[in-house]
């Protein structure tokens, strides 16, 4: 098939060989698992268990809340030890609500059955996938059931499966394709059926010949036709929009979803989890993680979600002496972990034990010389030097109008910048400031509305009161005349009398016997006092 080119891109050193020497290894089930409720994009999952509950492997611990949300399950059987805020693998280094599960060592599965997906309504299958916690495992963790919902307005013709894995160091998709190609193909078949897509294309970078060969073999054994395309190795060729461009020649318009051009894109590991759920009834409770960098046994490990990253690194032989930290994700788009004592989550594709020898400390930045090299390599065709300028000066509206939100934070621009400006950090800063001010604006709109409603209410009440006064005045005047004044006074007194009779003290009904006796006693005392005078 003919391939296309996306704009820009860079060739960072790959460092992939170290972790592809050994097959995927399993780890011993840890004694304690920590499962954050926020493991995906969208609403935080809703807690379904309490401390002390005994749960089985695969049991639902937290249910999806709303459409864009996904479930969290127990990776092994055991007891819920705590539900509390704990440090999570997040760039903020802040704690978030997590379930702590103490394993009982039996690893006993709960009830789970394969799903006959063709015998059911597609929407029921998608709901099941939502409950199974299937999210994009390429790192973005967007709930997959949302992307798999066929939309009549934008039918998906081409299903693209992303096996490009362009980021240096990471090899978990590579190994998954080498070893579990048949299962991945089966997952693709199910996804293609759900979307009603005409073709499916798997895009694999040409630095992974074994994976491509394994996928070709698996596709030839399957009845549906899936094209396996090897694409040139060029970072960030694994970005969804970049891969779509390379494989189909189509550009996803700015700010739009790929479905607007009839394409949908999933990661290979996501296809694998779809197969595990549909054909075996297993929700997402583990994933393959690359552990590499300065560790004794770099490689890929099948890790239960919730395992502490420190323990995982120990399982990989521990870190070398010169290691000075852990990076989650790759060197281009990943971030430094706040600590090793955070759990593996659905978005953990790679852990790199970093060292000064691997990642040199950021040299001091120099002023931008407007060389425009960043613009040459930007895969989204942005003007990074302009964005930098606006972000630096807090000129957010301007940055937004230069399509800041199309930036995929790939880091190509920072990589080539001769002035060593940490450009992506500026874009992240500007993006989060803009999102926060948008939120504040929405809150302000609500406040304005509530304030206006309140003012309207006060005005209405005032009017009503004025109307009532006027009415009374008219009534009084009508009655006045002759000896009507007397009558009016009498009437007013009668009204007051009647009102008095109507008022029933609120606090003497429904009394407890204790209070009732107390009141009786007080009344009796009062009676005595009255008698005295």
């Amino acid at each position: 098939m003919s391939l296309f080119k996306f704009h820009g891109g860079v060739h960072p050193p790959e460092h992939k060989l170290k972790s592809t020497a050994a097959p995927i290894r399993s780890v011993t089930m840890p004694l304690r698992l920590v499962l954050p409720l926020r493991q995906h994009v969208g609403n935080v999952a809703k807690l379904m268990v309490a401390v002390g509950d005994h749960v089985l492997k695969g049991q639902l611990l937290a249910a999806p809340d709303g459409m864009i949300s996904a479930a969290v399950h127990a990776p092994t059987s055991g007891t819920i030890a705590a539900i509390e805020e704990r440090l999570i693998p997040h760039a903020s280094g802040l704690p978030d609500l997590c379930i702590t599960l103490n394993a009982d060592g039996e690893d006993r599965w709960g009830d789970h059955q394969p799903l006959d997906y063709q015998a059911q309504e597609k929407s029921a299958v998608l709901d099941a996938l939502r409950l199974a916690g299937v999210v994009g495992l390429g790192g973005a963790t967007f709930p997959s059931h949302v992307k798999l919902r066929a939309d009549d307005a934008h039918p998906v013709l081409t299903l693209i499966i992303n096996g490009a894995e362009c980021e240096p160091y990471i090899t978990c998709d590579d190994l998954l394709m080498r070893e579990r190609a048949l299962e991945i193909v089966r997952g693709i078949e199910i996804m293609q059926y759900l979307l009603g897509a005409k073709h499916a294309i798997i895009g694999i970078e040409d630095n992974k010949p074994e994976a491509a060969a394994a996928m070709r073999l698996a596709c030839s054994q399957n009845s549906i036709s899936i094209t396996v395309a090897t694409v040139p190795t060029l970072y960030p060729g694994g970005g969804a929009k970049q891969l779509i461009k390379v494989l189909t020649g189509l550009e996803v318009p700015s700010g739009k979803l790929p479905t607007t051009i009839g394409v949908q894109c999933f990661n290979v590991a996501t296809a694998y989890t779809v197969h595990r759920f549909i054909d075996h009834g297993e929700p997402v409770i583990s994933r393959v993680v690359t552990v590499t960098g300065r560790v004794a046994q770099p490689g890929n490990y099948e890790v239960p979600l919730g395992m502490e990253i420190f323990d995982l690194v120990q399982a990989a032989g521990g870190t070398a002496d010169d290691s000075n930290g852990l990076v989650m994700g790759g060197p281009m788009m990943g971030f430094n972990l706040p600590s090793g004592h955070v759990p593996v989550v659905k978005g953990t594709n790679c852990i790199i034990a970093s060292a000064p020898a691997l990642f040199a400390p950021q040299p001091p930045a120099m002023p931008c010389i407007r060389c425009a090299r960043c613009a040459e390599v930007c895969p989204v065709n942005l003007q990074p030097q302009e964005l930098y300028w606006f972000a630096r000066a807090d000129n957010f509206e301007k940055a937004r109008s230069y399509d800041l939100f199309d930036c995929i934070e790939c880091g190509c621009c920072s990589y080539v910048c001769p002035s060593r400006i940490p450009l992506v950090q500026y874009y992240r800063y500007a993006k989060s400031e803009i999102l926060a001010s948008d939120k504040a604006r929405q809150a302000a709109n609500v406040a304005r509305e509530r304030n206006e409603l309140r003012l309207a209410r006060i005005a209405r009440e005032k009017e009503e009161r004025a109307a009532k006064h006027a009415e009374r005045a008219v009534g009084a005047r009508a009655e006045a005349g002759g000896d009507a004044k007397q009558a009016a006074i009498a009437a007013a007194m009668a009204r007051a009398e009647a009102q008095k009779a109507e008022i029933v003290p609120q606090n003497v009904t429904d009394l407890s016997p204790l209070v009732a006796t107390e009141i009786k006693a007080i009344d009796a005392r009062r009676g005595k006092v009255d008698d005295r005078d």
Partner: protein, 184 residues
């Protein structure tokens, strides 16, 4: 001569009717400039600007009766946005009106509340729930942090609590890197 006069009178009447009709039909509600200014103001409705709310302040700015630097919750960015909109020079915030502080919400210590309803009457956005002689409580998501409920409370049981930084409202910081000067 007569026909020309009649034609002109006829035209004048016709156009008058058209104009009169369109003035009614396409009537612009309110003052567009006031709304534009109001859209920039943070809607905290705190009155620190010296007006009983954001809309009155917006009206005063539009009529040239107030300066653009009197809104502490809007802070520096808000003042800049106003300067941009009105085409005037930005100026430092007027410290007499107060200083910007981190956004907070009011919290009622519920077992101290005597249920006097005074705070409800003070809240500009009806974010306090309660009834006479009942414990009152603040709907945190609606509270604008205006602090107007604090002074009326006879038992001082309302306090302002800054909104803590959580994973979902956390923001990336401005990159701190030394910029090497070229002149070295």
């Amino acid at each position: 001569m007569m026909t020309a006069l009649l034609v002109m009178i006829g035209l004048a009447l016709l156009l008058g009717i058209v104009l009169g009709y369109s003035a009614l039909k396409f009537k612009v509600e309110g003052d567009p400039l006031v709304d534009k200014i109001d859209a920039i103001l943070p809607q905290t409705q705190c009155g620190q600007c010296g007006f009983p709310g954001c809309k009155p302040y917006a009206t005063a700015i539009a009529h040239g009766e107030a300066d653009i630097n009197q809104c502490p919750p809007g802070g520096e960015p808000g003042m800049r946005a106003l300067a941009d909109l009105l085409g005037v020079e930005p100026k430092p915030l007027n410290a007499e009106c107060g200083t910007p502080k981190p956004k907070s919400v009011a919290v009622i210590v519920e077992n101290l509340c005597i249920g006097c309803t005074l705070c409800i009457q003070a809240c500009p956005v009806d974010a306090i729930l309660g009834a006479a002689k009942q414990m009152h409580t603040v709907i945190a998501s609606e509270c604008t942090g205006c602090e107007l409920c604090l002074p009326p409370c006879p038992v001082d049981c309302i306090s302002m609590v800054p909104i803590p930084e959580k994973v979902d409202n956390w923001k990336w910081r401005y990159p701190v890197i030394e910029i090497k000067s070229l002149a070295v």
